[in-house]
């Protein structure tokens, strides 16, 4: 691959020196301003994506129940009962921003936009976006960190895999549609790996010492949606308009 990229790089460098940019048009990152382009060879997840089989209830990679601690198991059972009695007991019925990883399973497409310093994940669901820095380290979790609905994220490349770590999320959100709870101590690791041009293999690892007896993982798949136009999708509870 390096032999393919080298002439392109030389052409881009020559073009920049000459103050011309058209030679860069064949570059995969030509839609980005020159200073914002990732290093050649960086996997390109940019595009529109959707989950072909949205996940309702999270299971481990082996298809088992997540390893809930007894108190969390009781909370999960209570959430399921409440949901059965009234679908609006799902916190997402309040239109609050859905946390990570649940926002990934929402029933609407998403887009990924990469540049040199960050990965932007934009979800059609209630126009929610995550701006994930590839340069800034994750803040340290302590009592001074104000919890956010989407927490605090930091990303990096592990070979060809995009890794995003997230901490500092509110504990009012559920991890899935079935009512799986979590605490503010939740740590989520998302791993995104291209599998051919039009498919992403995703893996999640959830660590939460107040909810789970041990870290556990599950998988998901995203499929490219060429030409899809993200729609304006608005969720407002009890509105008067």
């Amino acid at each position: 691959m390096k032999f393919v990229f080298k002439p392109v790089l030389l052409a881009v460098a020559a073009a920049m020196l000459a103050g011309v940019v058209s030679a860069a048009d064949s570059d995969a990152w030509s839609h980005l301003p020159a200073a914002q382009r990732p290093d050649p060879g960086t996997p390109d997840l940019t595009g529109k994506w959707a989950m072909p089989t949205p996940i309702r209830a999270l299971k481990t990679t082996d298809g088992k129940e997540p390893p809930l601690l007894p108190a969390a198991k009781a909370k999960y059972t209570a959430n399921q009962a409440a949901l059965k009695a009234n679908p609006k007991s799902d916190p997402s019925a309040n239109c609050w921003i859905q946390g990570v990883p649940r926002i990934i399973y929402a029933s609407y497409p998403m887009l990924i936009a990469q540049d040199k310093d960050r990965v932007n994940l934009v979800y059609e669901t209630n126009h929610t976006f995550r701006i994930v820095s590839l340069r800034r380290p994750l803040p340290k979790w302590d009592d001074d960190l104000d919890p956010h609905w989407l927490g605090y994220s930091a990303g990096h490349w592990d070979g060809k895999t995009l890794v995003i770590d997230t901490i500092g999320q509110h504990d009012q959100t559920w991890l899935d549609y079935s009512g799986l709870p979590h605490s503010e101590k939740l740590q989520v690791q998302e791993r995104y790996t291209l599998d051919g041009p039009d498919r992403i293999n995703g893996e999640l690892t959830l660590t939460d010492p107040e909810t789970f007896s041990q870290p556990w993982s599950t998988r998901f798949t995203l499929v490219r949606q060429p030409g899809y136009d993200l729609k304006e999708n608005v969720c407002v509870r009890d509105h008067k308009m």
Binding site: P33, N126, F129, E232
Partner: protein, 296 residues
């Protein structure tokens, strides 16, 4: 209130096509004076006319050093980074200081809301109910925005209410079946180093500023261009042309200067865009223990 003589040092533009006025000295127009009086209501230290005009054109230049410790990308078409309008710019005053060319009906409607507010009414709008702000209302909000480039699209990620705008660069017009929406459907093109964005297919549920309304025939044309200030800082200048024959007698243009805010990139979380959950009221509205609402 007596009129102030104002000396405005207007931006000397970059060596491009920006129109720059040099050393403009003028009095506030009656419309501007009325807006200044409104903006000064409840302020312990009233703004002078000079301060007020400076805010409209990108903020106090002496402050800019702390806003822009590192400069923006050099490429003129590279809008990446954070931009933020200084507060208190939510009005439809034209660049020459004249008010908007309302139709008689819209003038009446607008005045009715201004009077109601003066008499203690609390006005709500789409944004205060957590709907998207509408355009150009969104462009008047004093919160940071980040531009994101995609093949054939540019996104604007606004902190306020996590408003998301999508500018389609790969289309000349909206598809035929495009529904009406709060933020409309935007197409864009580059004219030199200016990003020209045309937006239509709005619903009629958002105000243009705090008091004036629009219909579904509204068309908004925004021209975004980077421009150096007199002291060498960088603004994203936004020239917004509003065309709605049902509410205005002619198309008119308002201008905003969004200063570059490299200082904000150090904010924890989301690389400079702090989470803003209108749905949870986590930003603007707080209640006291006895239930009173405090507007920050």
């Amino acid at each position: 209130m007596r009129q102030f003589l104002v000396c405005v040092l207007v931006v000397a533009g970059m060596a491009t096509t920006v129109v720059a006025q040099e050393g403009t000295v003028r009095k506030l127009t009656p419309a501007e004076q009325a807006q200044l009086d409104t903006d000064n209501k409840g302020r312990s230290t009233p703004m002078t006319a000079e301060q007020w005009l400076a805010r409209r054109s990108g903020g106090n230049q002496a402050q800019r050093k702390t806003w822009e410790p590192t400069p923006p990308p050099a490429e003129p078409r590279d809008f990446t980074g954070l931009w933020q309008l200084p507060g208190g710019n939510i009005n439809l005053l034209q660049e020459n200081g004249e008010g908007a060319p309302f139709t008689p009906e819209e003038a009446k409607r607008t005045q009715h809301l201004i009077d109601a507010e003066a008499n203690g009414a609390v006005l709500t709008d789409a944004a205060s109910q957590c709907f998207p702000h509408g355009v150009p209302r969104l462009s008047f909000a004093p919160y940071p925005v980040r531009f994101v480039y995609l093949p054939g699209e540019i996104l604007m990620l606004h902190e306020v209410g996590h408003n998301l705008r999508i500018i389609h660069l790969d289309r000349k017009e909206a598809p035929q079946d495009t529904p009406q929406s709060f933020l409309g459907y935007s197409t864009g093109r580059w004219e030199g180093d200016t990003l020209v964005v045309e937006t239509s297919h709005f619903n009629d549920k958002t105000p243009l500023d705090f008091h004036s309304s629009h219909g579904t025939r509204l068309k908004v044309t925004e021209r975004f261009q980077k421009q150096k200030t007199s002291q060498g800082y960088t603004d994203l200048v936004v020239r917004i042309t509003i065309d709605d024959p049902e509410h205005f007698t002619k198309a008119f243009t308002v201008v905003r200067h969004w200063p570059y805010r490299s200082d904000m990139a150090a904010t924890l979380g989301a690389d400079g865009i702090t989470e803003y959950s209108c749905e949870e009221n986590n930003r603007n509205v707080e209640t006291t223990s006895d239930g009173r609402v405090i507007i920050k």
